[in-house]
Every structure is written in structure tokens, then in C-alpha cells.
């Protein structure tokens, strides 16, 4: 493991402040409460609604094959599943990648995921019914199951992928991107791209779309913890379209401070995965830069007062 920093154990609050670092309290009080009205959360918290919004605004997102709302619909969807080469089943209100089942292949009557594990039809049906009954929604409320197209991960990230699919998180303030980060799943995160679960975040230069240093478990990191590959200097393909897609969604969604997760498909390019009304703050460590600095640049441009 290579740790670049020879840092002391803490940074004084004054130093953090000078660098424009935003803390959780400040994010909640100065950004989320005033800028993200609660009434808009329904769309962000439900992937089916986010997807509907994308479709109506012509924002690219993975194609939805079916939305299963009732137990009676499960039977009807079987023919559809057999007609598809690959698909992903996910709960619309799941969090942290729980309940997501990706099928890449079919072997006779059985389905197969990317690792080669086999799933008989019965198991697929059972999985859908557990989603509907709310097993994966944190509140335990009944949920809906979404069947969508399986993403073909872009080859640009092959060297950095050990499990799961990397995605790109763009944080936007008043529809302007202020920070970006490539999120790489690790063994520790068990294939999920969430930073607090152990994924690596790699800061992206917004101008060029080239990655720089990263963050892992809140520490600055310059290599992938599983492979040891260098994570900086990777050119994100289609970068301008990634930004454009994120901006389109943030405009449509009505939240002024939002994180948009974008997937890069090898064929379809950037696709919106989901939006987040409370994007995390570790992105600052990945980019070695505070969010407040960026916010104030925009505030000054728009003639607004600076955020203290």
C-alpha cells in the first residue's frame, strides 16, 4: 500500500475552512435544507420515477424492459426474461446495491450471471417476489422490481475493475457540475460502488475528464487497493457527454444540490443510473479540494453572496 501523505493526525478547522472543505453539518444546513425541497425527494428515492423522468426528458438511461408492481405480474414477465440476452433486476427503492441481480447469459432453462453462477427460473421468480414484498427497501415498505438492460462496462476501466461496474459521480450545484469522481468497486466493497462500503473514489479534472488522486476509506490513495494499478491519469471517454447527461438530469429533477451517478456503456455511452439528494463528502478528499470553494466560484459568477 502506498500512502503518499506524511500527514499529521488532523487538520485544524481553520485550515479546513481556508481550503473550502464542507462538513456534514454545513452541507445539511447550508445546502440540503434550503436547496433541496423535501417534496422533490420522491423522484430521487425511487429509481422507477427517476427513470420515467429521464425518458420524458430524453436523458439517456439504461433501457427499462419491465416494471413489476404486483405479484400477479411476475408470471407475465417470464416470457420477456427468456427473450432477453442479459438483464438486471433491481428494487426501485433499494439502497447500497442491495437486491440487485445481474444476469448476463442463459444456459438452457437456467440463467447465468457474469461469474458463471446458475439461477433456475424459480429462483429468479422468488427474487422478484422478495423485492416486491419489501425485503430490500430499508423501511420495509412494499417495493417494485425493475428489469432493465444489462450494462456493458466500458473497456477504458478494464484495468481498474475487479468486481462490479465502476460509475461516475457528478455533484452539481444549481445545475453546474462542481466536482466529479470515478467510483471503483473493490473486493472490500463487494462489487458495490459506494465509498463508505469500501469502494475507491478517484477525483476527475472537470475540464479535461482525466483522473487524478483518489480516496479509499477516507484516506488519500493513488493506487487501486486490490490490483495496485495506478488510478490517476485515466482518461474518461465521452467526458463531455457524461457532464451533459448529469446536467440534463439535475435540471429536470429540481434539486439544486445533487449527486448524479452515471454509467459508461461500451455502446450506448453515458447512462444515468440514479440521483442522490445527499451526496457524500469524501469526493472532496478524492479531488483534494473543498466543495465550498467551487460553490463560491459559482455564487460569485451569479452575483450571490459567498457561503461562509
Amino acid at each position: 500500500m502506498v500512502r503518499l501523505s506524511k500527514s499529521s493526525f488532523w487538520s485544524w478547522p481553520s485550515v479546513l475552512r481556508r481550503n473550502g472543505i464542507m462538513g456534514i453539518n454545513s452541507r445539511n444546513i447550508n445546502l440540503i435544507f434550503p436547496l433541496n425541497p423535501r417534496s422533490h425527494y420522491a423522484v430521487v428515492d425511487n429509481k422507477a420515477l427517476t427513470k420515467k423522468l429521464c425518458e420524458s426528458q430524453l436523458i439517456p438511461a439504461p433501457e427499462t424492459y419491465a416494471l413489476i408492481q404486483h405479484f400477479g405480474d411476475i408470471k407475465k414477465s417470464i416470457d420477456l426474461l427468456f427473450s432477453l440476452p442479459g438483464f438486471v433486476i433491481k428494487p426501485t427503492r433499494g439502497a447500497g446495491g442491495r437486491g440487485v441481480l445481474a444476469i448476463a447469459n442463459r444456459k438452457g432453462d437456467e440463467f447465468q450471471n457474469a461469474k458463471g453462477e446458475l439461477f433456475p427460473l424459480e429462483q429468479i421468480k422468488y427474487h422478484i417476489s422478495t423485492i416486491l414484498s419489501g425485503l430490500y427497501s430499508l423501511s420495509g415498505h412494499p417495493d417494485q422490481a425493475m428489469i432493465e438492460k444489462l450494462i456493458k462496462p466500458h473497456p477504458a476501466f478494464n484495468e481498474l475493475t475487479v468486481a462490479g461496474t465502476p460509475d461516475i459521480r457528478i455533484v452539481l450545484y444549481k445545475t453546474t457540475p462542481i466536482m466529479g469522481m470515478l467510483r471503483l468497486p473493490t473486493k472490500a466493497s463487494r462489487g458495490r460502488a459506494n465509498l463508505h462500503q469500501g469502494a475507491v473514489g478517484v477525483g476527475i479534472d472537470l475540464e479535461t475528464g482525466i483522473t487524478r488522486g483518489g480516496v479509499w476509506r477516507d484516506r488519500s490513495f493513488d493506487i487501486h487497493p486490490d490490483t495496485g494499478a495506478y488510478i490517476q491519469g485515466v482518461v474518461i471517454p465521452n467526458w463531455n457527454n457524461v457532464l451533459k447527461t448529469a446536467m440534463q438530469l439535475s435540471r429536470a429533477i429540481g434539486l439544486q444540490y445533487v449527486g448524479v451517478d452515471v454509467l459508461l456503456d461500451a455502446e450506448d455511452g453515458p447512462l444515468v443510473l440514479e440521483a442522490n439528494a445527499r451526496p457524500g463528502l469524501s469526493i472532496q478528499i478524492a479531488n483534494r479540494c473543498g466543495i465550498r470553494t467551487r460553490l463560491n466560484e459559482i455564487n460569485i459568477k451569479q452575483g450571490l453572496s459567498r457561503l461562509s
Binding site: S11, P13, I21, R98, V215
Partner: protein, 524 residues
Amino acid sequence: MFNRNRTAILAAVILTAAFLLCVWLRMKYTWKPVWAHGTRGWRLTYDISFSFTKGDKIQIAIPDSTPQNRLWRETFSHEGILLDLLRNKRTKGRGASAVSMPGHERGRFFAQFDIHLRPDHQSKLPASEEKMSANDRAYYLRNEKYIQTTGPELSNILKQLSNQKITKTELLNHIFDYCAENIAKGQKDTFSDATNTLEHIVGSTLGRARAMAALCRASKIPARLVAGFILENNQQAKVHYWVEVFAQKNWQAYDPENGYSVQLPITFLPVSRDSIDIVRGIKALGYQSRFSISQMLPPPSLASSQERRLWNIFDLTRLPPSMQEIVSLILLLPLAALITTIFRNIIGIQTIGTFTPGLIALSFIHADWHTGAIVFVIVLCVGILARIILNKLQLLMVARLSIILTLAVLCMVLAVAVLDYLSLTPSASAVVLPIVILTMMIERFNIIAEEDGLPNALKIFALTIFVAASCFLVMKVDWFGRTALIFPEVHLLNIAILILIGRYSGYRLSEIWRFRDVTQTPLN
């Protein structure tokens, strides 16, 4: 423009001012001593030391509030024993039950009861009618070792007393007159049982009381003995005995020694009914007891509570001691919430659940915390294991939670039973853990372990326990509970502080550590 921060500060200032105003009003109005005529306070002190033999269980009768005597404060301290407060089912009397702590051969019980006499309440005595069950009736008519309801002498006397056709009330008066006047007062060592007292027409205080009870019982009037104290300055107070007779649907007191009937002076403080011993051991034991009584001035707040004024509602010290205990415990909960808020929003410590630490701490306040901790750990371990096994079944959430709740209950009960079997927890009041909170804690622990990995879950769990322990240590300080009881308005101040914390947008303490690499690592 509406400035939230300024408004929040203003609200906090207003709340603080309201708090100060409340304190000032309280000092001014409720603390002014306005003594009603004849108001007196007494302090009864128990000092009892025992030497144990194995398995001894001691019961000590203690006073309770009566319409005229209000118990407004009590303090207990003890050495070498584990204490429980109980209430007798039949007589409703209060008692302290003590067992020896393992490894202790001697024990000491020390208690102070501050009693406030309210003479004006005497006249307002509600003539509440009591019903006596056939069972109780038979019980209070029974033949006892020292209250013998049969015997030639007793029959003779009863025949004499009821030679004409008279009512029961008249008979009762005759019996009382006979015991008070005809039976001579003997020395301390004279007869103290009913038969001998009646036979020799001389008896001790106890003997005369027993004689009266025996005569009543033989005449089918339920009667019982009362042991208590007469409140007067006395460093060596002796236990006094009198009789209570169930007549006209009420227990009426008779004191043959001093000649009081139907109603005793308010200085008579009953302590133990139907049993003449203040200290009772289930097995024979040696003990020394000393009771002392001294006059004292009740606090001014009691003086004003003589009158029914509306603001007395805000004076929680008027509540009976047992309720005061509960109220002060409830009043501590916001303090725990404040501590948790500080830990979460200012220090930046994650906890499982918002109020979990406070509620766990609360449940430990009155329990023996060693036992509590053992049971806590057992319940958690079993719950988490069960949750892991249940996960394989993929049950729906409500059913799953209910199963964990059931297991937690079973586990807690079983743990208490096992600890009792191993004589590790001799006190029954040991543990009542907040089961629902525990269940949610187990559930959250498993979800975090599943989503963010076991190390993360263990970390958050340990932090939750740390915050709970901090809450416990603060809540354990008596001063906070007492202050909150006297000045419940202190919680206005609590709200003011919470408003300020709620608008605190600075860094959390954990963030100066979390974000240290942003400023210290150069970007290549």
C-alpha cells in the same frame, strides 16, 4: 430576508430568558415559607445492623404516607445487603426486603423518613368505605399464637361484656373500655399474650393490645395489631402497639394504652400492620435496631403545598417519593438526548439509533449494572446470532423483527433465571432492559454488517455503547436528577442548547481527522 441563524439564536435567548423567569418565579412564590398553623415535620431514622447466617432474608417495615402524615422524602443507605422495596398485598404496607450480599456476614440498613404532619387534613378525612373479602375477613378473625381467640377467661369476659342485647358497636366500645381501664398496665416483662393478660388482668402494651384484638376476633369483629411510632423528640424511640378494628366498613384505630379510640392523634405513625415486628427475618438472626425521631422544619415548598394553589402543579417535590423517583428519571431522558446530540452533531460519532444510547443508559440507572451488563451482552449475542440464522430464511421484516423480539425476551428471562440460580443476582430488581430498543439495535447491527461490513458494524456498535456509557455516567450523578425535579424548567435551557446545536454548521470534531488528507496531500 428571513435569517434562520439569527432567528435560532433569538429563540435560544428567549428560551433562556423564560428559564430564568421560571426560576425567579419559583423562588419568589413557591419557596416563600408560609407556614400554616400547626405544620410540623419529623424525621424518623432507622439504623439496623444484622449478622447473617446463609440464606437470610430480612423484611423491614417502613412508613408510608397517610392522609395526615405525608412522607415527603426518604433516603436509604445500606452496607452488605441488597435492597428491594416491596408492598404487602393484604395490608398495603411498605417494606424493605434485604438479602445478604455474597461474602458479607454483617449488614447495615440506614434510612431516614421525613414526615410532614398535616393537621388540617384530619377533618377532611374521606370516609371511604372499604370492602373486605371473605378471605381477608377469615384472616383477621384467626386464632394466633399470641392472640388466642378461645379460652375460658376470654369467654367469661365476653359474656360479661355482652350480657344484654347490644349492637356490635356497643360491644366494641365495651371491649375497648375493658382493655383500657380494667386491665392494669404492667411492667415491660409482664404478660404479652392475650390469654395471660386476660387471666391476670395485667399486661404490657402489647399484651393489652393483643387482648383487645383477641376479644374482637372472638366477637367476629376483624382486628389486627399495628406497630408504629409516636412522633416526639426521642433518640431511642420505642415501638408502640395499638389495634385496628374493622367496623363500619373502615379500619378504626384503638389504643388501649393511651385511651384513644376510633381516631388516633396525628403523631401516631403506623409502620407495620398485622405484624408487630419492624424487622422480620425469615430465619432466626441477630440484629440490633435503633430508631430515633427528631423534629425538623419541612422545606418551604411543603408549606405552600398546604394550600391548593394552581402553581403547585409545577412543584414536583410535592409528589410522593416513589413518584418523584420515576419523574426525575423521565426528566433525565432529555439530558441523555442532549449528550447524544452533542456526540453526533458536534463530535461526529455515529450511533445505532438516535435515542438508543440514552434509553440503554436509563435502564441501567436503577439496576445493578454488573448484572445488567451481563444480561445485555447475552441478549445481544443471541439476538445477533439468531438474526444471522434467520437471514437464511429470508423472512419479511415485521415477522423477522418479532422473532428477534421474542428471542430477546426469552433470552433475558433465561439469563436472569440462570444468574439467580448461580446466586449471582440475589436482587429481583436486577434488570429490565428496553427490549424493543435492543431488538432494533440487533436489526440495525445486522443491516450495517451486511451493507458496510462487520468491522464497520462493530465500530458503530462500540461507539453506541461508548455514548450510552457517557449518558449513564452523567445521569448517575444524583445532582442532575434532583435539580431537574426541583427546576423542571431547566429543559427550556436544554431546548435552547439543542436549537443552537441544530444550527451549528461548523466542522464536527471527527471531520478534522477525516478530511486531514485533503489539505495535506499534494495533488500530482
